[in-house]
């Protein structure tokens, strides 16, 4: 009865005391708050509140992981099917990432939403490094950014190098028509000799490789063809259709850009879902660990307060007797 009364007292006073003691708690969880009115029972309310919020976080992150897993399954199929799209172009024109041109445009693909691990930071790092690599006297490098996250990171130090920035790409499910309109937009408004598309290629659920795909303008193709290499064989190809060779080559370049961009956008979306899955998985696992530790602390706190009450009562009783 005395214990019950003391416990009731403790509970009534805890909400008043908790705001001050929360600042003191921090990482050490045992809440020995300043005890006004000579009250010495330790409150378990604070630990209980923390446990509740950590449990909620665990549930939320687990749910986000399930959602990301289901989205990944849907988009992975489409990304794999689109992988055959860029192969013919690279087989014909080769891949020349070390091409030396005056006007470089770096197309960075990123996600709009966060909580997806480090893939957006890797894309931005690669883009910045590419800019450094292609810098030089008489040369200029501009950015075209797809996605909110890369825009936020790049705009801080390269605001004047932004040509175009596009967000809300995944509002409607990705399809080729949308991407080709986007590609058309970019090609019309941006002057370029070489376009470098930076994205994360989906290798597996836990591995995403930053990749750079290079698309050259028709004039750059002509220049490279003269210098030999893979493109040198381009002259041996007969051109059918169109009025002139340059018209066909221009159409080819534009088609190549839209195909490569389509595959890149799909791969990046896949990587985003995969990264989000693993980020949320580790987050819910962390929350689970934290919950375990908090439960132990809670039990210890509870037992300590019961012991304290018992000691007080017994010493009080023995004082009365003796």
């Amino acid at each position: 009865m005395a214990m019950a009364a003391l416990r009731r007292e403790g509970r009534r006073l805890a909400p008043l005391i908790s705001p001050q003691s929360i600042t003191a708690v921090r990482s050490s969880v045992i809440s020995q708050e300043q005890a006004p009115l000579g009250l010495r029972s330790i409150s378990t309310q604070i630990v209980r509140n923390r446990m509740k919020s950590v449990k909620n976080i665990q549930k939320i992150t687990k749910a986000m992981k399930m959602v990301a897993a289901s989205k990944l399954r849907a988009i992975q199929v489409r990304a794999e099917n689109s992988r055959g799209l860029w192969q013919p172009f690279t087989a014909l024109l080769g891949d020349s990432p070390s091409v030396d041109v005056k006007k470089n445009v770096i197309v960075t693909i990123s996600s709009d939403k966060g909580l997806c691990g480090g893939i957006n930071s890797t894309s931005v790092k690669t883009s910045k490094a590419l800019k450094k690599l292609t810098a030089g006297p008489d040369k200029e490098t501009k950015y075209v950014v797809l996605g909110e996250k890369a825009k936020a990171q790049l705009i801080r130090d390269s605001k004047k190098d932004f040509e175009l920035s596009i967000t809300e790409l995944q509002k409607n499910p990705l399809n080729y028509t949308q991407v080709s309109v986007l590609a058309d937009d970019i090609l019309k408004n941006v002057e370029y000799d070489a376009l470098r598309i930076v994205f994360n290629k989906f290798q597996s659920v836990v591995s995403f490789l930053p990749t750079v795909a290079t698309v050259l303008s028709p004039e750059a193709v002509e220049k490279e063809a003269e210098s030999g290499g893979k493109l040198g064989e381009l002259d041996s190809y007969e051109i059918e259709g169109g009025e002139t060779k340059s018209e066909v080559l221009q159409n080819l370049g534009e088609f190549q850009f839209s195909c490569v961009l389509f595959n890149a956008v799909l791969e990046n979306a896949c990587s985003e879902q995969g990264a989000r899955m693993s980020a949320m998985d580790s987050s819910s696992r962390n929350a689970g660990d934290m919950l375990d530790r908090l439960t132990l602390t809670y039990n210890r706190t509870r037992q300590a307060s019961i012991t304290t009450e018992l000691i007080e009562i017994i010493s009080g009783a023995s004082a009365l007797e003796g």
Binding site: K65, E80, P88, P97, V206, V212, A213, G241, G242, D281
Partner: protein, 199 residues
């Protein structure tokens, strides 16, 4: 729920293992000049991958004309035919129907909406393509890239007639250049579809 999570994770991992093993070719080639110049300027970060790392290896140019032509027919959402050995393909180039046999001279050809027919022995498969490109390489590999393709037997003739009538009507009533161009494209595609079905 934890069990569900691990099961789903294992499923997606299993599904994810497949592209990992089939995507990287046996001998990946990479642009060494690019990697060298990257390492010089940015030594701390690993150089990014390039499409040549993931390119599926192509057969070399043979000395004699091979008996079959290898066809890769790709669309944005699927690879219809990949490395299929056939006797002949007829592609709808802008300059007309072009037959491609093994040993064809290397060509880059723009395609107009029309029929692509793939001949293998006595089987002929016909697809109706919206435009695209076709590359024929010296090693008798033909790459056909189209934006959209449908098998002829999947097309409904009555809908084609209706579409043709609709677009012809739109063309006659078009006011702006844009409307005229759109209607013109619709008429071309539908009349090509029509002739494809009848021819």
């Amino acid at each position: 729920m934890f069990r569900q999570a691990s099961r789903l994770l294992a499923q997606t991992l299993r599904a994810g293992v497949r592209p990992f093993s089939s995507d990287l070719p046996a001998a990946p080639t990479s642009d060494s000049a690019f990697i060298e110049s990257w390492k010089k300027v940015i030594p701390n970060i690993e150089p990014p991958k390039t499409p040549s790392n993931f390119l599926r290896p192509r057969p070399a140019t043979p000395t004699s004309i091979p008996s079959k032509i290898t066809v890769n027919f790709v669309l944005p959402y699927a690879s219809e035919l990949s490395a299929k050995e056939v006797d002949m393909v007829i592609i709808p180039a802008t300059t007309g129907q072009m037959g491609v046999l093994p040993g064809h001279v290397p060509t880059i050809s723009e395609l107009k909406p029309g029929i692509l027919s793939v001949h293998e022995g006595n089987d002929v498969t016909k697809y109706f393509l919206s435009s695209g490109f076709a590359f024929i390489h010296a090693n008798s590999v033909a790459d056909i890239i189209a934006v959209e393709a449908v098998r002829i037997d999947h097309i409904d003739p009555s809908l084609v007639q209706k579409g043709l009538a609709e677009f012809t009507q739109k063309l006659s009533s078009a006011t702006t250049e844009l409307e005229k161009a759109e209607a013109q494209i619709g008429v071309e595609v539908h009349s090509a579809l029509n002739s494809a079905l009848s021819g």
